[in-house]
Amino acid sequence: MTKPEVSDMHRRRILLRDGRYLIFYTFGDVNKSPLTDNENASASPRQTEKVVEATVRRED
């Protein structure tokens, strides 16, 4: 039987326009997760255990 494993957890934090935070959690190989187009997000791969502050453009 293949044993399951706890994979690495990666956090990316952004700020919404009303000031609330939102944290995206992804797991496993960071290189498999494509970046999104948040204006302040840095180049791939995704930041690991580093909080990226970004302003999300919303239309509300």
């Binding site: 293949t2 994979s7 009303d18 609330r20 939102l22 959690y25 997760s33």
Partner: protein, 336 residues
């Protein structure tokens, strides 16, 4: 507008949160505010879909990190405090039509890791004394959004139910020298009639003292106080136990089973709680496939629960639906 008001009759705080009257109520699936925003669609709470689990501050919080001043003045009889704290929403998946029971056990393991991260981060805030992780599932519970999600309330005090468990645990420790929950686990495993499922690290039971017909507790076999003490192996075992129980719930009446799920662990106020024991409690409101257990006069007015069923019988019903957990890796490799 939120504030904490003291109830002198019960000696406990309550929260007023008038703005929550305006929160979104059972929107059509196409207008779910918890789904990722679609190209050209209306802006939801979540601007992206590329995530495993997402956490954000509740748009309609009962508690805020920077709360407004109370609307009313405090008095000696009626103390009032700003409603300081944090309210978070945890999205279990970008998929609107899922549920925790339907998610693969690998995804539940990720949730356990996120719970641990939120416990640590929120527990480090100076104004937070207790991190309460929970899920309300199903319209029977009063859920207003169907997208699979849970919540976290970071309280500026130890909530009354937890305080009472702490008192009972401390008293038992002082009297016997033993952990109360460790004794409960030993009694339930020895008796076995109320056991629903077991693995190396956890045991799920409808306890001797269950207040709801299908009230089920998941106890850690090892004596530990909080989720951040789980080893990697125990995190895996907890995910497997949650999957086992949730699938059994759904199979019981062949429905998406409603429940309240709450995690009970030590406070984060800097004190030691070595006598306390981490566990998870489920309170399903169904007493049959189509009948609800209501909190009526006795339960609400006297705090006296009447359980019109026997835990020994209900545990046997649930146990009949327990199945082995299948990991994706096993499926992919042919169970090698």
């Amino acid at each position: 507008m939120s504030e904490l008001r003291w109830n002198p009759l019960l000696g406990e705080w309550l929260v007023t949160a008038t703005h929550r009257q305006d929160r979104t109520f059972l929107p059509p699936d196409d207008f779910c505010p918890l789904c990722p925003t679609k190209d050209g669609g209306f802006p939801t709470e979540v601007p992206e879909s590329d995530y495993d689990i997402a956490v954000f501050e509740n748009r309609f919080p009962s508690l805020k990190s920077n709360p407004e001043a109370p609307m009313v003045s405090a008095s000696e009889l009626y103390p009032v405090r700003p409603a300081q704290g944090v309210c978070e929403v945890i999205l279990y998946s970008p998929n609107h039509n899922s549920s925790l029971a339907q998610e693969p056990v690998e995804q539940i393991l990720k949730l356990v890791q996120v719970w641990t991260d939120r416990f640590r981060e929120l527990g480090a805030l100076p104004f937070v004394k207790y991190v309460f992780i929970f899920e309300n599932k199903g319209e029977a519970i009063g859920v207003t959004l169907h997208h699979p999600h849970g919540q976290i309330y970071a309280y500026p005090f130890i909530p009354p139910r937890i305080a009472r468990e702490l008192e009972q645990s401390a008293s038992h420790q002082k009297t016997t020298g033993r952990c109360l929950v460790c004794d409960v686990v030993a009694a339930e495993v020895s008796d076995a009639r109320r056991t629903v499922a077991e693995n190396d690290s956890f045991v799920a039971v409808i306890p001797f003292f269950a207040r709801w017909p299908y009230e089920t507790h998941i106890y850690a076999r090892r004596h530990l106080q909080a989720i951040d003490e789980l080893t990697a192996a125990e995190q895996i075992q907890l995910a497997a136990m949650l999957k086992t129980l949730l699938v059994a719930f759904d199979k019981l009446f062949n429905t998406s089973f409603p429940y309240m799920m709450v995690i009970h662990q030590r406070p984060v106020d800097g004190e030691r709680y070595d006598y306390y024991h981490f566990h998870i409690e489920f309170y399903p409101p169904l007493r049959t496939a189509n009948k609800l257990k209501y909190l009526a006069g006795s339960e609400t007015g006297a705090g006296m629960f009447i359980n019109d069923s026997l835990p020994e019988i209900k545990a046997a019903e649930l146990r009949a639906h327990v199945e082995p957990v299948v990991w994706r890796a096993e499926t992919a490799s042919g169970n090698d």
